[in-house]
Symmetry: D3
Subunit: 278 residues, 6 copies
């Protein structure tokens, strides 16, 4: 009758392949904070999700996931928070776990990619997102959720970032993306081709939940009208199953803006599908 983490499917950390953890940080969000509540909200509701997926005809029992809980990140010190994420992911990699991070704002991705890039020199990044996040700096700060893909580009360099679903950004962000990255506006067109091209390259997959239409997931900090449907996002994710994914995250769920609780339910279902796909 003890309280158990509903995500602890593996008997223990040692036997698990996937190590899930929360990064409840939203300190650089300029518009509407609240992504810090994402991991807790997902944990609280995940027990309500059926373990069986009729989409993949697989059961959660077949996946060995260990829930490491949340990192205890400091508010008000962005650099230190990112370093803690980086160190934790490095530790997980050293123990041959596949890190699966639940944000938090999108900037947390930078911490994880820093650690993985050291391990995989040819790391590619697939980003499903509404926003380009390619600002050089935001309000004078280089460590900002609006600049996270720019910082990551500095790490992985040209041609290594694949952006899909992007429907918001400055004009120069779209120009930057066209020049330095692979970018698909509005939808997931070209995802299959990208997956073919990537072959066995190690890939980090970052899913910013605001790629979904705000009608599907209103609980996010910066809702952008005109997004993809749940089915489209699900199909996109399932289409990545044969890739060599070495790290993964799901960010920007901000449950306080959705009193219906639907946003968290959507995130939980996507989490199940992503865990089954990996």
């Amino acid at each position: 009758m003890m309280l158990e983490s509903p995500l602890t499917f593996a008997e223990n950390y040692a036997k698990s392949r996937i190590a899930l953890f929360g990064a409840p940080f939203d300190g650089t969000v300029c518009y509407r904070p609240g992504a810090r509540f994402g991991p807790n909200s997902i944990r609280g509701e995940f027990y309500g999700v059926e373990p069986y997926s009729p989409y993949q005809d697989k059961d959660m029992e077949s996946v060995s996931v260990f829930d490491c809980g949340d990192l205890d990140l400091p508010f008000g010190n962005t650099g230190r928070a990112l370093k803690m994420i980086e160190d934790f992911v490095e530790k997980l990699c050293g123990e041959d776990k596949l890190p699966f991070m639940i944000g938090g704002e999108h900037l947390v991705t930078l911490g994880a990619v820093r650690a993985l890039r050291r391990k995989y020199a040819d790391l590619a990044v697939i980003q499903l997102d509404a926003h380009a996040d390619l600002m050089d700096a935001y309000m004078g700060e280089e460590l900002s959720h609006a600049a996270v893909m720019r910082r990551i580009w500095e790490l992985v360099s040209d041609g290594k970032i694949y952006q899909f679903g992007i429907r918001s950004g400055k004009k120069f962000e779209f120009e930057f993306a066209k020049k330095h990255n692979h970018i698909q506006k509005f939808n997931f067109g070209g995802l299959k081709a990208a997956a073919d091209a990537l072959g066995n390259t190690p890939v980090y997959l970052t899913v910013d939940l605001d790629v979904l239409d705000p009608s599907i997931l209103p609980g996010t900090g910066t809702p952008e009208a005109g997004g993809v449907s749940f089915q489209e996002l699900l199909n996109a994710i399932l289409g990545l199953s044969r890739l060599n994914i070495v790290g993964c995250d799901m960010v920007e769920l901000s449950p306080i803006y959705d009193p219906s609780g639907v946003s968290t339910a959507v995130a939980c279902k996507l989490l199940r599908e992503m865990l089954l796909m990996l």
Copy 2:
């Protein structure tokens, strides 16, 4: 200037063909209660719905519906609540009314089907729903909203249940459905063929509103991402107009989870279309 039930279209009970009533019960809901508020919420908002349907080019004036009000169901005694529903539907059937029940949780359907099955030995059931509801028992209880279709299958036996839109359940529920019922995952594919096959068989139609995508109807107890659109559900319902429907329900509206009021508005519009279709 007296308060009148806005649904009382028939001059009186005697002249009506359809007898509408509420079953405000949600006592076995394990996740989020609130379906008890469904009937009251629909009554309160139905006056805001136009009586004319541009979809069917028909007017509510052409339908003789009598609103019997709500059953006064006890909380904490599931068996007695179901018996009261069963008795009431039996009485309506005895007086040649077509019963139209507004839930309440999905378990209330069992009460209505028990009464109708006695009258119609070859009763078939069409279920539009996100959930298979085919558990043998839930938390040790056989009378549970998660087991309602299993209980109904025990009454009507193999081949008599048609399930559409199902996108959630245990693995064995999907296997059970494939073996004993007709099941269509995710959507309404095959509905026309089913309607053809049913011909003049007496049919009970149960519409669990969570078959809709939660973006369309967030106000429900167990929202499941990836549902059908309003137009798809409407088309499905209109496609059943030539069937011999002998009883009907609409369940699982839980308005407290949708502060926008949209869920109730959606339910009211569907109710109008269902009443005009019958």
Copy 3:
């Protein structure tokens, strides 16, 4: 560091082509009031919208808009409120501005059309809306949001009103529309043909945001299930770019019914696209 209206893009009124203003009136709304909060809510959130549109590949810097603020409309006196709108639009027209009004309830459109009809004898009106709004009177009142298009028809006469997306109304409203106006039920079919036919005719464009499905925009007074998607509305609006639009409005955002803030975000994005399209 002074508070500035975030919509003041033109250096000053004199240099602007488009004059934006709010008409925060919802005095005849019979169902759910709150459209009065529309202009303020849009102004408060517009700063969060990217100035660049990836749909049109244009930037707000290229548009000369001046935000005139809100009209100070009296509550409880419908006639006077409409007269104030009419006078203000007349003044803007006299100074060769293109008036862009943010409602408020739909009745405010009547004030604007009265002024423009005096200037343009052959004025046509394109209405994107869920409701026909063609009642002769509502609760005995001729000045009602449910009668606004009937009042406008009295001004512009037969064949001058183009109604799209209409999915709610009395039977006789649909009949009236078929006889006196151009009407397209449910969607934007025939919009291109209408645009072709209109050629250089001066056009007033009125966008009632409830034409969108309530899942996209729950924050409106009279939500109607079965509406169009954001992408469909956006495409429809972009398809009008070659018309001779002489006045424009966006009405019926009622942000108090959407605690997620998504409705205002949707309205802001549409406003950007409409301003860039003009």
Copy 4:
């Protein structure tokens, strides 16, 4: 099993002494509309209130109240709405009923007082309210909720209005009140003395629920910090039991601003106490 108004305690209108009715009008509210939803919300929740009052040791069974339902007031025409209230109250008075009106905004009181003043030449008015409501006009309109007590003063003249709990108004409103009315700022001090002085004078009692502190009743259009407690208001009302009250109202409940439902529960309990006190 028919839907009945839960407030219909008298067997029928003929046998009742108190005639309760709703005036769901909020057309002149300049700040936050929603008082129109007051009567419906109170009716919907009144069944949850115990009929017995431990404060007065009386039971609702001892009171003969008839619920006349709501007046069907037009939005957008203030004058006509007030005339309908006036006519209805006149009719009730003619049939020797004590009218008890549930608002709606405070302006509805004017309609009721107009009718009662014709019957009772020496009518006095007791107002429990946060706001003085003594503006000469508001935004140019004389028929405004902010001017209702000024209009009533024009009817009943000097020394006939007793204002208690007032904590908001223009400086000249307080000066006007001191000169022409009896006014007690902030609380109910002097209420007993006033009751003594009134003796058998016919009294209209108007309770603006915003006299309560907003912590007690957040669901109102113009919340004013620093109000009285529930117990203080209850004591004040019970202290009026020996007066010759010939008409009564309770206004400005706006339930949409209180998602907890507490405001309606408070109003229902006060309604019970007022009905038992009369």
Copy 5:
């Protein structure tokens, strides 16, 4: 970095004196369900409460509490749920733990008292509550939250129940209480005298949070205006510190009705004070 129950202060169960557990049951609630979410909500927020009490000048470190988690109670079977509570409390008593139950609706108290009454033949019950809960049956059901104190009276007999703060009930409930129990209406008058009289008698303390004014705790199923303040309740509880309390509960927090989160914060602070007081 593992997820830990924030209430697990004792190193392990064996070393603890107080055994806390949740009883997330609200199956007999007739009005507004949601008390099932109480235990989870308190656990989720308790980490935000300071361990130190400036009221008692004590720290949580000085208390040995073990959080047993939640009982897995079935919905739809009231009898079985109560039996599970009874069995669990019996087990705790057998292991010399002081049981502290977090509801759930008030009926759960019956399960705990059944177990404790077997152990302590002279068990007295102190109830701080807005409602008398002395109905013989509710809607025909004897196992109802509105009848819980009647069922408990059947167990402990006359003179053993002390009711404080009661401000709602049928007339005969107040008469019953006066005859068979000790009752104090509205407040905690006489609590000190009762504590003196009880001396070393084993006492079960049940705190129904709706004894607080709904302004203090709006998140409850049946809010009753006119309740006590936080300070009054705190003082009352601290005044019981010298009693021989052998079991304890806190019930009827229903967090879904309070979007501000304040109700849960109030409950957490009271929980801290109660744990420090025991």
Copy 6:
């Protein structure tokens, strides 16, 4: 008809005595963010506040306040944000304005005090607050809202800080306060004596709105039950009118947690009273 800041009472900056500005920063809030929305929410609602105070019998026309708007503070860089506040307050002081800052989280006070301490060597600080805020560091960070008064103590040294209303903190915070500051737990006892003792000493007044009971102001990040009433806080503030106040702030309004809007209304009314008191 231009949008104007509703707080701009002075004709221009030069003629004003009080310079009001917003510090929309909440980057170190560990529990519930949202204080960043405080300044905007207050500005949006201040127009609804009567300019006249019946408490002080004064009118806002008699006060010369200039609203400087909001500082454009970076998220994710606490040090730089504080420096911007410090620089701005220094500039205001240099131009002989009395700075009145609207937070934001409580840490913003540090920026203002840093500037004022340079100007006034004997600066004292009066803090009305629920929390001691005397941690040495929080989650390893010295710049935290939980440590703000500790940082300020380092600036002004022993005996210069007066803390009132404190009801939450670690044990050592209370001990620290007793040793180094003046502290009054729970209420404003001793405020008059402190005011007498301060005489003409330059005083910075910081009002953390969470000193109010959460029933009065639920819209704050860290609600603490058992707070003071509106009237008590108002009296305390009015009792400081004869002090030599050289700077002032009001912090921790977080309007997103209060859908009723009451919290902002309370803050606006307090702001009026504070401006009239200065």
